[in-house]
Point group: C2
Chain length 348, copies 2
């Protein structure tokens, strides 16, 4: 597996498989882990961080699930390639921009990936298509066990897994799902949903992750609490909540279809028309229109394109993906043109 393969074939998590894959684009579970006896990356010296890289690499290479994984020293990657990995949800924005000794490991089909020397020594994640948090948890947990056989994790009987930031302490687990909730937005119920979520310890972010605004009716929801509950409790709890959100979204879609099918068809039709005929399109507008497009496919107004193609489209219209596809740096204006072009080809 090499870097270019990533461009050729976006990961398994974009296949549009899994439960409720119309509404739940993807599920993700990540674990924060640190090696015992070595300062956290932000406090460690160069040599200690290199030690972390070495120890991690050794334990990872012994892990069957990560056979054929792609190992990337971040300092050897161009800014564009790093941004590409961010857009692919394989590394964090902070990790891409950090200057310290660090590496990423990407397993086959992007099912499992790791960041070494991010905020913690190890960040393990598993990405799955659809509403498959349980499956993502099972997979990342296996990798965690495998690595845990070979290194000693920083662990306290009282606090659980120790992490650089106390908000990750305990299980070190963050589970999330990317949801598409256009009907809750259109029926103006979304803010009420968010209010409830914040009360039950669920955070909401935009399509492009932490610190980004929600765009085009895509929302990433994740657990905020990592401590005082078992991994299974955290995941059960989040799954239960997401199931409720899916129910609400489905009901809202039914109501929309019953009460204003025609207006909905108009909105979807217009989105389709613009996506098909525009020559210039920025990211924000693209997400908004692709959201309407997706809704149109879900409710049967548009029948031309698979969920997989739609999921991929959401990813490949991002700046670094567009530039990698084009094989050269593009100005923002050129990207807007390329984006319109890529969309047009995909939906026609």
């Amino acid at each position: 597996m090499n870097f270019d393969d990533l461009l050729k074939e976006p990961g398994e998590w974009l296949k549009g498989k899994g439960a409720s894959s119309k509404i739940v684009i993807s599920s993700r579970v990540r674990l924060a882990r640190n090696l015992d006896g070595i300062p956290f990356p932000g406090w460690a010296g160069k040599r200690e961080r290199e030690e972390v890289l070495k120890l991690s690499a050794r334990s990872i290479s012994a892990c069957p699930i990560l056979k054929n994984a792609l190992s990337l020293e971040l300092n050897k990657l161009s800014a564009l390639d790093r941004q590409f990995l961010v857009e692919r949800y394989l590394i964090s924005r902070e990790f891409a921009e950090s200057k310290i000794e660090r590496a990423a490991v990407i397993g086959e089909k992007e099912m499992v990936s790791l960041m070494i020397n991010e905020e913690d020594h190890l960040r393990l994640q598993s990405l799955h298509s659809g509403f498959e948090i349980e499956e993502a948890w099972r997979l990342v947990s296996q990798v965690d066990d495998e690595i845990g056989k070979r290194v000693k994790y920083a662990f306290s009987d009282h606090w659980g897994f120790l992490t650089a930031c106390p908000t990750n302490c305990g299980t070190g687990l963050r589970a999330s799902a990317m949801l598409h909730l256009p009907a809750l937005v259109m029926t103006k119920q979304i803010n009420k949903v968010f209010q409830v979520l914040s009360k039950v310890g669920v955070a909401v972010r935009g399509f492009y992750g932490e610190g980004t605004q929600a765009s085009g009716n895509f929302f990433q929801v994740s657990n905020q609490i990592t401590l005082g509950q078992s991994e299974e409790e955290i995941i059960d709890n989040l799954e239960r909540i997401i199931r409720q959100i899916i129910d609400h979204e489905e009901k809202a879609r039914e109501i929309l279809l019953k009460k204003s099918r025609f207006e909905l068809e108009d909105k979807v039709g217009r989105a389709y028309g613009i996506l098909e005929y525009s020559h210039i399109m920025n990211s924000q507008e693209a997400l908004e229109l692709l959201s309407l497009f997706r809704l149109g496919v879900d409710i049967g107004i548009i029948t031309k394109i698979s969920i997989e193609s739609q999921n991929k489209l959401l990813i490949i219209i991002q700046p670094a993906h567009l530039q990698k596809m084009e094989g050269r740096a593009l100005t923002p204006a050129e990207r807007d043109t390329k984006r319109a072009d890529v969309i047009k080809k995909a939906i026609r």
Copy 2:
């Protein structure tokens, strides 16, 4: 000729023929005339107005150009039919809404039409396709001469033709053209053009005539002065000014194509996409998008539809036309649906 023929075949002035017909949709000349010795319609009594109708009818029926003309007693028409005639530029809004004894006469192909007992006893107009003010003047002048042989017009050697409103006194002539000036709007030169026009005695109105806002880059320009100049001077002057506006618009289009062809293609493409795929469209949006569509055809981005079809489309998407086509009254929401449908069929 009967009323339904109007619906079946919109007039000659929509054929997209004549000079500069890309930019100049139509030309119109109207004359205000009153019968000597009878008070203006607003002051006259019922019997006097009926006398005007009788005298006019007699002189009109003798006029060769108005052979086979359609004569309509306005009080016998439904509100919908009256609105239909307004939308067709065959009668004025005020005339449609007035309650007094009045009639309209519509010549074949809508080349010549008359209002009897509008603000003046007689309003004669000729509508032509393209930039053909001269031709419209020649035709309306012939009708004026024919009628003038049979009735005595109110005329003063000092003031010229006498009219109910002093702003029409003298020649009683108002010439106008409907212009499509998207490039002047896009390059933000239009307000400068309007400022100059107001200084040289040229009024600017919107697509739907007096008192309406300019929509979709369509502007009706007309002479404000009717007194102290001969008919030929008024027309020459207006033609010269319109020729300059056309020049400016053509230059602005060249500049747009040179400097921002791509942005223009994007705008036109989006308009096309929405026109093709929307299910609900109000008048204002339709005019705006059809303006971009027209520009797209003019500059060769879209090649699917004739100027004639476009001109007709601008007329038939109006409320009364939509209702006449549907054969029944439509709510505003139903009209928006019908409008989207009519446009879709025309441009596909």
